[in-house]
Symmetry: C2
């Protein structure tokens, strides 16, 4: 009951702050962002000391190396947090943008105005830099934010939150525009995701387990990212040089990102022309290959020995690691069918020079990003020109793919008249 009261109080304050923020002009919001950046740079040593205490405690508690890595702040990451805030200040303000104004036969002039969503709840794990990034995006889009970071990062988050508050106050914006949940009690999350009166949308960031749990229990809309099981399909009308370049880059540019290719599909008619060369590239880079029967045969004949067999489970797996499943398919229809059946509707690419096949792939692949002759690695907010991203959505409602400032807004209808009435 105490936690419930505490969270309700945070919710009420956020709702009040959201109204003030929705009115705040661009200059004021940018001033706050720049003041927060300054405070973070000035308080660098305080932030690093708080973070050291978090890291020491996490080490005692036996956190694994990857988590410790994400938790740890350095002088460099503090500087890039401040830099991120300044970049968001430089982005155009999405709020108030008016579009599609047209006269209707009744004489009214109808259009749309972009407006903040209201209050955004962000739930994340051990990364303290999310505190600054998420605060910046929510603020710029005119939303109040309630931030609930992992308990491992509580001291770091409090220290960053103090800088955020200072910046808000300097700009004359309400302190409650960005609130950090100060308790590590898990019940706080349960409250946050069910306070419909006070929270307009939840953005969970973290592992699939966290996101599934939240979206199961939430009573507030959730913008979520689940798997990134991305495919490249090399069509038999592909340009071989482009195919190899893209299939190499999509897998090996970075292994741990959600837009990395996890399954390579190759048309039977071109398999022998591309797979042996790609096989050499992948094995040179230490990528483990898991192959369908046809691929195993082809690669064995090409001198690779018997590669590992892909199981049904492999087609559904996001490795996030130097592992790749490969399947030879009869052609475009089979490739689309594989992608729509096993994929995660994240990002999928075709390599082809054939106009009609490119068109069919674009139309029929039901994913947030669908590409022709480009690496799946392009699917992110920076490459898409969103400036920054709050996450990548694998939902279909509201926002698909990389979510930037626009995804944190909605559009209302506006009507301008001269006294028109319905008759």
């Amino acid at each position: 009951m105490e936690i419930k009261d505490y969270m309700q109080q945070i919710g009420r304050s956020a709702r009040t702050a959201a109204r003030a923020l929705a009115k705040a002009d661009t200059h004021l919001k940018n001033q706050a962002l720049l003041a927060i950046a300054d405070a973070i740079e000035r308080e660098r040593d305080v932030l690093l000391a708080a973070n050291e205490r978090d890291v020491a405690r996490a080490r005692e508690n036996g956190l694994d190396a990857a988590l410790l890595d994400r938790l740890t702040l350095t002088a460099k990451t503090v500087a890039s947090m401040a830099e991120g805030l300044r970049q968001v200040a430089n982005l155009p303000d999405p709020v108030g943008e008016i579009s599609e104004m047209n006269y209707r036969p009744s004489g009214i002039q109808l259009g749309k105005m972009r407006v903040p969503l209201g209050v955004i709840g962000i739930i994340y794990e051990a990364r303290p830099n999310v505190t600054a990034d998420a605060a910046a995006l929510c603020l710029k889009a005119g939303n109040a934010a309630i931030l609930r970071g992992g308990s491992e990062a509580i001291e770091s988050n409090r220290a960053i939150a103090a800088c955020v508050r200072e910046g808000l106050m300097q700009a004359g914006l309400p302190e409650a525009a960005v609130q950090v949940v100060e308790t590590t009690d898990r019940a706080a999350v349960g409250e946050l995701i069910t306070m419909r009166d006070y929270v307009d949308v939840i953005v969970p960031r973290g592992g699939k387990g966290l996101i599934e749990r939240i979206s199961n229990e939430a009573r507030v809309p959730v913008i979520k990212h689940l798997d990134g099981i991305c495919h490249v399909y090399i069509d038999d009308k592909a340009d071989i040089e482009k195919a190899i370049r893209i299939a190499d880059n999509a897998k090996t540019h970075r292994y741990g990102t959600c837009n990395t290719m996890e399954t390579l599909l190759v048309a039977a008619g071109i398999a022998s022309q591309v797979l042996p060369e790609l096989g050499r590239i992948y094995t040179d880079k230490g990528v483990e290959l898991r192959c369908c029967a046809a691929t195993r045969n082809l690669m064995q004949q090409a001198g690779f020995g018997w590669l590992k067999e892909a199981t049904e489970e492999d087609w559904r797996t996001e490795y996030l690691a130097p592992v790749l499943s490969i399947r030879i398919v009869s052609g475009l229809d089979a490739a689309i069918d594989h992608i729509n059946s096993y994929g995660s509707q994240h990002t999928d690419a075709i390599v082809t020079e054939d106009y009609s096949r490119a068109r069919q792939f674009l139309r029929e692949v039901d994913s947030a990003s669908v590409m022709v002759n480009a690496s799946t690695r392009f699917a992110d907010g920076f490459e898409y020109g969103l400036g920054a991203e709050i996450g990548i959505s694998t939902d279909k409602i509201h926002a698909r793919g990389p979510v930037g400032l626009h995804g944190l807004t909605s559009q209302k209808w506006i009507v301008l008249g001269d006294g028109q009435v319905r008759t």
Copy 2:
């Protein structure tokens, strides 16, 4: 368990049909819509006979007059169902629309393509015409539909569904593109709103109770309409003639619609110039007035006697009836504050000739439709040029206000390249 199996089977069939529909070209979808319209006209007597059985049973069960009215089909309503289908066939196809294609510095060309959502579940009460309307909109937007109408209308809905299936078959589209849930067991709704693998969005249509229950229990995104507590604010810089015309029309054009004004706000500086005349119009038309203290005093002095006092509850009430609450406010800020506190974020209008106040009202009123010098009654799909509407959303996520074909689609990102890779 039987109901669960039955609904899962419907869900699986819908998912398969949705894939076929997403590929279906515009001509095929229009052919199906026109064939359904023909079938409905041809089977008019069968439809009316089925409906008579529903109405007779409803009468026996003591359904109230308003519900009976909504349940009853006539030759005229059957004809307008067919006409509605033909109108939807005439609307432009939203699917495949490509927009905002621009080159990025990396050389990729990035844009958006409008695509179907997938499977839409519609849950509605006694109106059988929703079966045809909803089927038409879902089909045109490339979505499969699962329709669950009220048990009172089950025979009418089955008869309409038979016409829909015939039209789909004639066009060579899968019958499962539109499925009517054939059981009146309430557990079917519970399944429908939690089948995340098979349903992409739920649109409940009906009373507030139904919609709240569904949105509380749903595990699938819901596009919902709750209250329509709409306001007109007459500013002291209003043109008096426009103010009276709009305040009259917004209340008295129709009483039972969600975009009807329920509370009239009047700036203190203009109250004595508009309220007595409006009071005469409203009382002549039989509208009951519930007033704040200042309004009561003013109206008493103007010869109306002591009008009924508005309670706190009145400001939060959607009357859907010839009742109006009236409040005199100090000015624009107080009006906006009242609307954002007591309103339902549906549709609100200001009457003013003042440029800056109009701008402030447009920016600060957080409703799906915000109007200047126009009647709130304009907030509907037909007047907004959407051609038809599946409902009016009071949500902020995905779709706000009248929801037409676009609200039943989403946009995916598309990327066209010439072999670009990330470096």
